[in-house]
C-alpha cells in the first residue's frame, strides 16, 4: 500500500469517526438524563437528511438557508418525539419507555418509506463541501476535512453548555436525581427538552455532512449509523460526552482500518462495531470514560 492510500484512509477514518461522534453525543446525553437509549435517534438523523433534500431539491433553496431549516425542523422533530413518545411515560418502568423508543424508531422508518418511498434519493450537492482539495498528494473532499473540525467545535460547545451554564448545571442535577432537582425549582421537562434540542441539532449537522460524503438517502439509512453510534457511546462510557466522541473516533477508525489493511474482510466492516460492543461489555462495561459510581446511602 502506498503512503498516499494510507493517508487517504486515515483521513476517511477520522472523518467517519467524527460523524459517528456527532450522533453518539445525542445518545449519550439523552441516556445521561433519562437513562433511556433513544433508539429513534438514528431515524431523526435520517429525517434530517430528507429535510435537506427537500430544502435544496424540492424548494431549491441555497444550502445555507436549507441548513438552518434542517436544524429547525430536526429540533422540532426531536422535541416532538420526546413529548409524544417519552414524556407520557415519565413515571413508567424503564422497559416501557424503551419499547416506546423502539416503536418510535419503526414509526419514523416506515413513515419515511411511506412518504418518500424506498427509492434512494440523491443528496443535494453542496459544491463547497464536495469540492476536493489535494494535500500532500492526497485528494480529499472538503467535507472530509471539515467534519472533524465541526465535531470538535460541537463537542466544546456541548461541554461549555453542560459545565458552565445554568441550564447545563440543571441538566447535570436532573441526571443525578429527578425529584431533588424538582425541589430546587428546576422544571424537569424544560431540561429534558433542551437535551433533545442539543442531540437533534447535532444529528442534523451530522446528516448534512454524512449526505455530502455518502449522497444516497434512504429511509433505513439511520439504522446502521444509529446502532454504531450507540455502540460508540457505550464504548466511550454512556452518559459521558467526551467519551462518546472518543468512542465515535475509535469506531470509525477501526472500521476504515479494517477495510484498509484486511481488504478480504471488507464484508465484515459493520460487524466490527458489534465485536467491539461485545468486548467492551465483557471487559469494561462502564466504557472508557464511564461515569464513576460514587453513590453513598
Amino acid at each position: 500500500m502506498t503512503l498516499e492510500t494510507f493517508l487517504q484512509q486515515l483521513a476517511n477514518g477520522i472523518s467517519l469517526g467524527s460523524l459517528y461522534s456527532l450522533i453518539a453525543i445525542g445518545y449519550t446525553m439523552v441516556y445521561g438524563i433519562l437513562r433511556l437509549i433513544n433508539f429513534a435517534h438514528g431515524d431523526i438523523f435520517m429525517m434530517a437528511a430528507y429535510f435537506m433534500v427537500f430544502g435544496m431539491v424540492n424548494f431549491s433553496l441555497p444550502w445555507y438557508i436549507s441548513i438552518i431549516i434542517v436544524l429547525i425542523a430536526t429540533i422540532a422533530l426531536g422535541v416532538l418525539l420526546e413529548r409524544v413518545a417519552y414524556k407520557p411515560l415519565r413515571d413508567a418502568p424503564r422497559m416501557s419507555i424503551m419499547i416506546s423508543a423502539i416503536g418510535a424508531s419503526f414509526l419514523l422508518e416506515n413513515l419515511a418509506t411511506y412518504l418518500f418511498t424506498g427509492v434512494p434519493k440523491g443528496f443535494p450537492d453542496i459544491t463547497f463541501l464536495t469540492n476536493s482539495v489535494t494535500i500532500a498528494g492526497v485528494s480529499l473532499s472538503v467535507a472530509t476535512i471539515i467534519t472533524p473540525v465541526v465535531t470538535i467545535v460541537c463537542l466544546f460547545l456541548v461541554l461549555f453548555i453542560t459545565n458552565k451554564t445554568k441550564i447545563g448545571m440543571a441538566m447535570r442535577a436532573v441526571s443525578k436525581d429527578f425529584e431533588t432537582a424538582r425541589l430546587m425549582g428546576i422544571k424537569i421537562n424544560r431540561v429534558i427538552s433542551t437535551t433533545f434540542i442539543i442531540g437533534s441539532s447535532l444529528a442534523a449537522v451530522g446528516a448534512v455532512l454524512w449526505g455530502s460524503k455518502y449522497p444516497s438517502i434512504i429511509p433505513l439509512m439511520g439504522v446502521m449509523p444509529g446502532l454504531k453510534c450507540f455502540i460508540a457511546a457505550v464504548l466511550g462510557g454512556i452518559g459521558n460526552t467526551t467519551g462518546a466522541v472518543l468512542g465515535g473516533f475509535i469506531l470509525g477508525m477501526a472500521e476504515i482500518m479494517l477495510v484498509t489493511f484486511l481488504p478480504a474482510l471488507t464484508g465484515y466492516r459493520d460487524a466490527i462495531a458489534f465485536i467491539i460492543l461485545i468486548v467492551v461489555l465483557l471487559v469494561k462495561p462502564t466504557g472508557l470514560l464511564g461515569e464513576k459510581v460514587t453513590d453513598k446511602v
Binding site: 440543571a170 443525578k176 425541589l183
Partner: protein, 240 residues
C-alpha cells in the same frame, strides 16, 4: 403561617395520611415525631408538592398551595431538605449551593456568603465534588442548599439520620440558629428527645393520624411519648 386541614394522602394504594391538622406559626420550630411509616415524610412531601394528596387543604400565608407544582411552591418560599440529604454528588459544593438558588434572580453571592458563614467547612470544600463529602458535611450542604432559595419555611426530613452524635448536636444548633434568623422550621425527627427540646410545638403521628399534640416541653413530659419515643426507664418488657 402554614395551615394543614384534614390532609389525606394515599401512597401506592395505602392510605398513608388519614386526615391530619397541623399548624405551623410564623418563626416557630414545629416537629413531627413518630415511628417509621407513620406518614411523616408523606406529609412533608405533600407540602412540597411532590405527592398529590387525595383530600384536604394546605394553606401557606393565606394561600392554598395544594396541587401546585414543586417549582411554584419553592417560589412561594417553602423548601424541603429531603431525607437522606440527596445532595448532587456529581456537582461541586458551590454548584450545589447555586442550584439551590435556581429560581433566584439576585442576591446569590450574598446567599453563598451567608451559607459559608454558617458552615465554614463548606467554604473550604467549595470546589470539591459533593459526593466526596462526609455524611455530616453532606447534611450541612443539604441545609445550605435549601437556604439558598431564601425560604420562609424550611422543612427538614430526618436531618440527623445516620450521623455521629457529636454531629447531630451540631445540626440541632444550626436548626436553632436558622430559626433565630427568622426562618420557620418544620422538622421530622426520629431523635424525639432532641427534636422536642428545640420545638415550640410538636405533633405525634401514628399510622397516619395525629395522636398527641402540644408544646415541645409538654410532650417531653407526656408519659405516652416517654414510653413510645423517648426510651424511658419503664419500657415494656419485650417477650419473644
Amino acid at each position: 403561617m402554614l395551615k394543614i386541614r384534614d390532609l389525606q394522602v394515599n401512597y401506592g394504594g395505602i392510605s398513608a395520611v388519614k386526615g391530619i391538622n397541623i399548624d405551623v406559626p410564623e418563626k416557630s420550630i414545629v416537629t413531627l415525631i413518630g415511628a417509621n411509616g407513620a406518614g411523616k415524610s408523606t406529609t412533608l412531601r405533600s407540602i412540597a408538592g411532590l405527592v398529590k394528596p387525595k383530600f384536604g387543604s394546605i394553606e401557606f400565608m393565606g394561600q392554598n398551595i395544594l396541587g401546585m407544582d414543586p417549582t411554584e411552591i419553592v417560589a412561594k418560599g417553602i423548601t424541603l431538605v429531603p431525607e437522606g440529604r440527596r445532595i448532587f454528588g456529581n456537582l461541586t459544593v458551590l454548584e450545589n449551593l447555586k442550584i439551590g438558588a435556581y429560581l433566584q434572580k439576585s442576591g446569590i453571592e450574598e446567599g453563598i456568603e451567608k451559607v459559608y458563614e454558617l458552615f465554614p467547612r463548606l467554604k473550604e470544600r467549595s470546589w470539591q465534588y459533593a459526593g466526596t463529602l462526609s455524611g455530616g458535611e453532606q447534611q450541612m450542604l443539604a441545609v445550605g442548599r435549601a437556604l439558598m432559595a431564601k425560604p420562609k419555611l424550611i422543612m427538614m426530613d430526618e436531618p440527623s439520620l445516620g450521623l455521629a452524635p457529636l454531629i447531630v448536636n451540631g445540626i440541632f444548633d444550626i436548626i436553632k440558629e436558622i430559626n433565630k434568623q427568622g426562618v420557620t422550621i418544620l422538622l421530622i425527627e426520629q431523635n424525639a428527645n432532641k427534636a422536642l427540646k428545640v420545638a415550640d410545638k410538636a405533633y405525634v403521628l401514628e399510622t397516619g393520624t395525629i395522636t398527641i399534640e402540644g408544646t415541645g416541653q409538654e410532650l417531653l413530659k407526656d408519659q405516652r411519648v416517654k414510653d413510645a419515643y423517648l426510651g424511658s426507664k419503664h419500657t415494656k418488657e419485650i417477650n419473644i
